[in-house]
């Protein structure tokens, strides 16, 4: 393991490695700072560009993006009260009041340092867990993978903020789309309507580019105006060092936030927003002066930002070890792995340890580099959010579609990206969570293959899913997840009735 880490470091400290990491960080900061874009869109746009690269170089670029998006989002959250990505929303509570009090520099300094430390903490957790994960994944056979895929979908649907039913429908829709094309298990093609292009199935990269990049651009077009909801051209930044020092004076807050971030990140579907809000809430609860939060308390910036960056390390655990992505970003990242001929799952950690470590090292260095670059260009990044969407939209649509075509030189990919862009926009408009559709699309093949393999192992009986402890446990957990909202409603109603009686 140490050998892999050292060779990954050596690879990164070449001119090529530094250039690609720097480019990834710059793109991540930019896409993080612009609300509505985010890491998923950035990675989707970059996939075609990585096609001709060595896997290690591609992961350096993508690692740079993943490690820097969260900090980019915190800059617009602090300076403009507009979170670049949803997890930065918790940073607005105290970051923007600090900016209003003339302490924007301190807030950004704190966010940068907390992001770096959080990112490093997340990576440390990932490195610590890899040897254990290797052992755990070896216990998993097809029934366990099938159960895990179903559990992942259920958990992600549950995390869609009150849209559980539509989250499940989106998941089923994603699975349905995943069945299109050649059926590797049974031979023959399905749901193609005789269209030759569809024989290979719906390609993940054009579909994801459509669902994220194109759908967001259509949505921005309907909204109009500037990207940030609360714009101000006055974004002066000074006294950054005050924020940096404040982080080192409050290391327990950083550790608590990072711990929450890494743990929550590893749970499929829960995501960075929950992690940063939990970190914020726990810091308020632990504070001797909770009344100061929301009025510019620097701890209110440190806690969510450390959680925000630590989550990536945690989220990579299920993605790399089991091939189960926990977020849209990770689902798209799976697309990158597949494009480079790597199959996520048990063998990935064993056979491609060096490649995995180049991603991990890139992620760690990106967290630090993002803060350094971000501090230098924070003012200009904030101004990017004041760009009129009508200039941003056609540029992003053009680059996204050229990139989609460039991947396999098939115009059908461009059409698929457009169709999924429209579907994605309709999903935004009618509150069908896209995340479950995306993850189902990615997991569909794994779920079906594991299902058929399991039934074969079980001599045609589906009871195999219930006779093996791990798969039974995972399926029971899925049932629990499905009934969680109803259970919560029952408990709330009982509590309310009890209170009324008293």
């Amino acid at each position: 393991m140490l050998e892999s880490a050292i060779s990954a470091l050596a690879l990164l400290f070449t001119l090529n490695g530094v250039l690609f990491l720097g480019a990834g960080v710059a793109i991540g900061l930019l896409f993080g700072a612009i609300p509505g874009l985010g890491g998923a869109t950035a990675i989707a746009l970059l996939i075609p560009l990585t096609y001709g690269m060595q896997p290690e170089t591609a992961f350096t670029l993508i690692g740079g993006v993943m490690g820097s998006v969260a900090f980019g989002g915190s800059i617009s959250a602090i300076l403009l009260n507009t979170p670049g990505i949803p997890p930065n929303a918790a940073t607005c509570f105290d970051g923007f009041p600090m900016a209003q009090q003339g302490k924007a520099g301190a807030a950004i300094g704190a966010a940068a340092t907390a992001s770096s430390l959080g990112g490093l903490f997340g990576v440390a957790i990932l490195i610590a867990v890899i040897p254990i994960a290797k052992q755990i994944v070896l216990l998993f056979g097809p029934p366990e993978f099938f159960a895990l895929a179903i559990l992942g979908l259920g958990a992600i649907a549950l995390s869609t903020g009150g849209h559980f039913l539509r989250g499940l429908i989106s998941g089923a829709f994603g699975l349905a789309i995943a069945f299109v094309g050649f059926d590797a298990v049974n031979g023959g093609t399905r749901f193609t309507g005789g269209v030759e292009y569809l024989f290979d199935g719906i390609q993940v990269v054009p579909a994801l580019t459509g669902l994220f990049a194109i759908a967001e651009m259509i949505n921005l077009t309907t909204r109009g105006g500037i990207v940030a909801s609360e714009g101000s051209a006055d974004v002066r930044i000074s006294r950054v060092s005050d924020g940096v020092k404040a982080v080192f004076r409050n290391l327990p807050t950083v550790l608590r936030g990072s711990g929450i971030g890494a743990f929550i990140g590893a749970v499929p579907g829960v995501g960075g927003t929950v992690a940063s809000f939990l970190a914020y809430a726990s810091t308020v609860q632990a504070s001797k002066n909770p009344g100061s939060f929301g009025k510019g308390n620097i701890l209110g910036v440190i806690a969510p930002e450390s959680a925000n960056n630590a989550k990536d390390g945690g989220a990579l655990i299920p993605t790399l070890a089991f091939g189960i992505p926990g977020s849209a970003e990770m689902a798209i990242f799976l697309g990158v792995l597949v494009l480079h001929g790597l199959e996520p799952g048990p063998l990935m950690l064993i056979e491609h340890e060096g490649t995995v470590f180049s991603l991990i090292v890139a992620l760690a260095l990106a967290a630090v580099l993002a803060s350094l670059i971000g501090l230098a260009i924070a003012r200009y990044l904030a101004l990017v959010t004041l760009i009129d969407v009508h200039i941003l939209v056609p540029a992003v649509v053009s680059i996204a579609l050229v990139g989609v075509y460039a991947l396999h030189s098939r115009f059908g990919d461009v059409v698929i990206a457009l169709i999924f862009g429209v579907i994605g926009y309709l999903m935004i408009r009618f509150d069908y969570p896209r995340i479950t559709a995306v993850i189902a699309l990615v997991l569909g093949e794994l779920a079906e293959r594991s299902y058929h393999q399991s039934v074969m192992i079980g001599n045609g009986e589906i009871t195999i899913f219930f006779t093996r402890w791990i798969s039974l446990g995972l399926l029971l957990l899925t049932v629990l997840i499905i009934f969680t909202p109803a259970l919560r409603l029952y408990l709330d109603t009982r509590r309310a009735t009890g209170a009324r009686r008293r």
Binding site: I169, V185, I391, V402
Partner: protein, 163 residues
């Protein structure tokens, strides 16, 4: 606030999804026994969930109950609200990339990108001609430099110019 007072969300999306799931299910049954297993299972699950969604959007007491059961709350936290954008505006926003792809199919990316960016900026964005020209020039240059010069990718030439 009680659930009964909420304005029920539109029935059109859940009915459209239900129609899709029924169509998918019907199609799934046309395949062999093994090939149809998973699609049929997913189709039935999707159809059932869509029926529940139709009920949830019906504005009836049963609908409110379904909504509460799946959102875990009786208040409007889980109610679907949508973006509130008018249909005309949505259609217009979808038409722009659709027209772009249609024109690219005929003439290829490089001639269409500057025209698309320029027209979008001045017609949809109501910006000045100068801004439109600048945005078009920068975007086209970016695409040309990244894809054609740096990465040496093939950029689609369109049916007319492909020769």
């Amino acid at each position: 606030m009680s659930a009964a007072r909420f304005k029920a969300p539109s029935l059109v999306p859940p009915i459209a999804m239900l129609a899709f799931s029924i169509g998918f299910l019907g199609w799934a049954y046309t395949y062999g026994e093994r090939a149809q297993q998973m699609p049929v299972l997913v189709g039935w699950v999707m159809a059932t969930l869509c029926v529940l969604d139709v009920v949830a959007c019906s504005g009836t007491r049963a609908g409110n109950l379904v909504r509460a059961l799946f959102s875990g709350t009786r208040d409007d936290h889980g109610a679907t609200k949508g973006t509130g954008t008018s249909v005309a505006r949505s259609v217009m926003s979808i038409l722009w990339p659709t027209a772009f792809v249609g024109l690219v199919a005929l003439f290829g990316f490089l001639p269409v990108i500057p025209a698309y960016v320029f027209l979008f900026v001045i017609l949809q964005g109501r910006k000045s001609i100068r801004q439109g020209l600048t945005a078009a020039a920068i975007t086209t240059a970016l695409v040309y430099v990244i894809f054609k010069l740096a990465l040496r990718y093939e950029v689609y030439q369109g049916l007319v110019f492909a020769g």
